[in-house]
Symmetry: C2
Subunit: 255 residues, 2 copies
């Protein structure tokens, strides 16, 4: 983990039995991580909890106290198992009300078909502000440092676009990857560690893969000083060559 | 969430900065959830933490106290950022030692090339037992109710195969899906909730999707009595038709 006193941190809270059952493959975590990273906000932790009010409320209160921002996904639709708005309101100790902007949107769209279930989607905790939903549906909302978004990935990503401008991030983390194919981590470990120790302000990690029956690894250099990060790409490749590792190549263009 | 007094529960702890940075898309959570589900073990919570010892230790101790089983992925390779074995030993208050079986395996494979980095992979907490790695590499390990596996998905899935026989699960949860295309959740909500209320032993959820510019939803029925679950598939489709929803189809074959 990258050390930095000024780090701005966030947590993701994924709400939904469908992720925990393995039925649905989550992709929101990675999308949020990459998006907030470009604003200088580091994802420090993520949790997946089921559709259980006490779990959601306790977890949300813990995370919002500990991190600068919390992003939730899932559970804001119209069905009986969509309980996120209720839980967020409980966590903040406020009430839900039908937001007039969402009611106008739903009335315009559904007219006579605006039933009780659909009205559930108009409910926002007192003090919350709306997060635009560019994909044909009701908004999410922000309350305090918590952003409440839909679980459907296309909609979630649309909502993110209305969040970036609200974030006060730190220095953006730059990352560069050096890819090594056909050499296991056991050979890479010593030169990698030596370079890591020489650059305590950076984070160097090794993320192995296994393909075509061979081990390889992506060596990732992360830091807030892009000049140092680029210099370390060169230094690491040189250290690997000295250790007899051939074919280490930078994946990203150098700045 | 499915109510059941005899529920056997588990947590997944994903260890790795690469997941939190959004660089790597995790797929292990869903694979573990589905695998343990067939043994009657329900995934109740999942967490992703970075490569920070205190975070890993605190989180692991919390999870292993709270759930019947904990599955960790990531951080058991040979590089300096692979700190999972150290953290698990710390969490259990025991020491690491070089396991003779792993040492034999590594010596056989690497001979003279068995360097300090590779020997790191032989370290197992005292009291731990090995989890076979069918994919060309060192094993994972089990200590108490904690299973420590590799992060690389192909290897992790191989290791899972040596875990099932150790699990004492509850009744297996069966799930059936009714898919509705072209109808939003707002229309489905009332009949879905009515059927859900009539079957308190089951869990009925709605998992919307958005494709071809249209909303639809997978309605998932989960329970431990397969006969009741199958009956509710029919009941739900009938309730949807009564509410004017056409084209609800069961996705899975009925038992």
């Amino acid at each position: 983990m990258l050390a930095n006193g000024d780090r701005v941190t966030a947590a993701v809270l994924i709400i939904g039995d469908e992720i925990l059952s393995g039925r649905t493959q989550d992709t929101n975590l990675a999308a949020i991580a990459r998006y907030i990273g470009t604003y200088g906000v580091d994802l420090a932790e993520a949790r997946v909890v089921g559709d259980i009010p006490e779990e959601i409320i306790t977890t949300l209160n813990h995370l919002r106290g500990r991190y600068d921002y919390v992003f939730t996904t899932g559970g804001i639709g119209p069905t009986h198992d969509d309980i996120t708005a209720d839980c967020v309101a409980d966590a903040f100790g406020v009430k839900l009300y039908e937001h007039p902007e969402i009611m106008a949107l739903l009335t315009g769209r559904f007219g006579d078909q605006l039933n009780a279930a659909r009205r559930r989607m108009a409910r926002v905790p007192e003090g919350g502000t709306l997060i635009k939903n560019p994909v044909n549906g009701p908004p999410g909302f922000q309350i305090g440092n918590v952003f409440v978004m839909a679980g459907v990935p296309q909609i979630m990503r649309g909502m993110l676009e209305d969040i970036g401008w609200r974030l006060k991030g730190g220095a953006v983390v730059v990352s560069r990857t050096v890819r090594v194919e056909g050499t296991g981590e056991g050979t890479l470990a010593a030169p990698l560690e030596a370079v890591a120790k020489a650059h305590p302000a950076l984070s160097l990690g090794s993320y192995p893969f296994f393909s075509n029956e061979q081990y390889g690894s992506n060596l990732v250099i992360r830091g807030r000083d892009p000049i140092e990060v680029d210099a370390v790409v060169i230094e690491l490749i040189s250290a690997l060559e000295t250790a007899g590792v051939k074919g280490a190549v930078p994946v990203d263009p150098l700045g």
